[in-house]
């Protein structure tokens, strides 16, 4: 695959990049932002590697985006890379959210801010939907991928099945379909 396509980033660049991803994600939509930066802008990962990591990061314990930062950081620079990416992802947003929280406990609500956040959420959902279009265009080729996609959405989004139940049903089919034919081990 395009494993070594990208130039290895420095610790500082990892931290700054994840800081950038994180700060851009007001209103939500962090997955879409990570893809935009990690795959499209920086070309640190191929689309397939990023999407597969995203689902593994959902299965594993911990916040999904923290997990993605660990995967990306560790891929390039091991443990220090993972630390740098997580630090970049969380530090400034944690300071910001503390300021917001302190303001909230002071004034109990901030109407204009709440309205702005509602608008931002509508925009962030748009980014998420557009990620669905952009990635779906590339990977939903054929009937079986479409069925797997629709079943996963329906079970998880509409019926609100827990992730494990959903993947226990859909992942075996996905893996079976994609298992390499020539046994080279």
């Amino acid at each position: 695959m395009s494993e070594a396509a990208a130039v290895k980033p420095s610790l500082l660049e990892l931290a700054l990049t994840f800081n950038h991803i994180s700060l851009a994600s007001f209103g939500g939509g962090l997955s879409a932002w990570s893809r935009e930066v990690v795959v499209v802008e920086k070309k640190w990962m191929s689309e397939e590697e990023f999407l597969s990591i995203l689902t593994m990061c959902r299965i594993l314990p911990g916040a999904n985006q923290v997990n993605v930062a660990i995967f990306v950081g560790a891929k390039f620079l091991g443990l220090p890379g993972a630390f740098a990416a997580v630090f970049g992802l969380t530090f400034l947003p944690a300071v910001l959210i503390l300021l917001l929280g302190a303001a909230y406990f002071q004034y109990s609500h901030v109407p204009a801010l709440q309205n702005a956040l509602k608008g931002a959420a509508a925009g962030a959902i748009a980014l998420t939907l557009s990620m669905v279009f952009k990635t779906g265009r590339k990977c939903l080729l054929g009937v079986i991928p479409w069925i797997l996609f629709a079943a996963t959405f329906f079970l998880n989004g509409i019926l609100r099945w827990p992730l494990f139940g959903v993947l226990a049903l859909t992942a075996p089919f996905a893996l079976l379909r994609a298992w390499p034919k020539n046994k080279s081990k």
Binding site: P61, N67, L98, G123, L163, W179
Partner: protein, 177 residues
């Protein structure tokens, strides 16, 4: 603030244990956080918890920073830092180990099957999270029009996403959604 020391211990125990239990993402343990923070320790009431949840969803950064706010309410800045580190570290170590395995197994058939097979599932999960987000944000028809317009803009043009979300925030700030 005489309880701060005890609260710090509770913060540490609560979030470091929830860290490894948060299988499927931070949102899966929010009911348990609510139970402890509101019912067991009385750090805040239910409305405050709901508001902090909304702040953490909309503010920039991972929504797991909800724990930063809970820690802050329980035991000040020290509580905020402790809660954040306790929530991230145990699961983080596990994920780091898995990521090492992942990078070492570049040639394994399982990794190649995951890479080539999981994409449709991921896209389905991403669509589901967009759907759930819109439910949580209590989207009405005006918000859906805004979302629809932004989706078209973001999918068909190369507009910087910052401008799209910023513009949507402005529309909200003006009170139109």
């Amino acid at each position: 603030m005489k309880d701060e020391g005890l609260n710090l211990i509770h913060v540490l125990i609560l979030f470091s244990s929830l860290s490894l239990l948060s299988i499927g993402g931070g949102n899966t343990v929010i009911p348990e956080m609510h139970r402890k923070a509101v019912d067991s320790y009385s750090w805040m009431n239910g409305n405050q918890f709901a508001d902090l949840f909304a702040i953490s969803q909309a503010a920039p950064g991972p929504s797991i920073l909800l724990v930063t706010l809970i820690g802050y309410k329980a035991a000040g800045i020290t509580g905020a830092v402790l809660a954040t580190v306790a929530m991230i570290l145990p699961a983080g170590i596990l994920v780091y180990l898995v990521s090492r395995l992942w990078s070492r197994s570049a040639d394994s058939p399982l990794r190649s099957a995951i890479e080539r097979g999981f994409a449709p599932l991921t896209v389905g999960l991403v669509l589901a999270s967009g759907w759930v987000m819109s439910k949580a944000a209590d989207h009405d028809w005006r918000a859906w029009i805004l979302t629809g317009a932004c989706t078209v803009l973001c999918t068909t043009t190369k507009t910087n996403p910052i401008l799209i979300v910023g513009g949507a925030a402005l529309v909200g700030w003006l009170g139109w959604v």
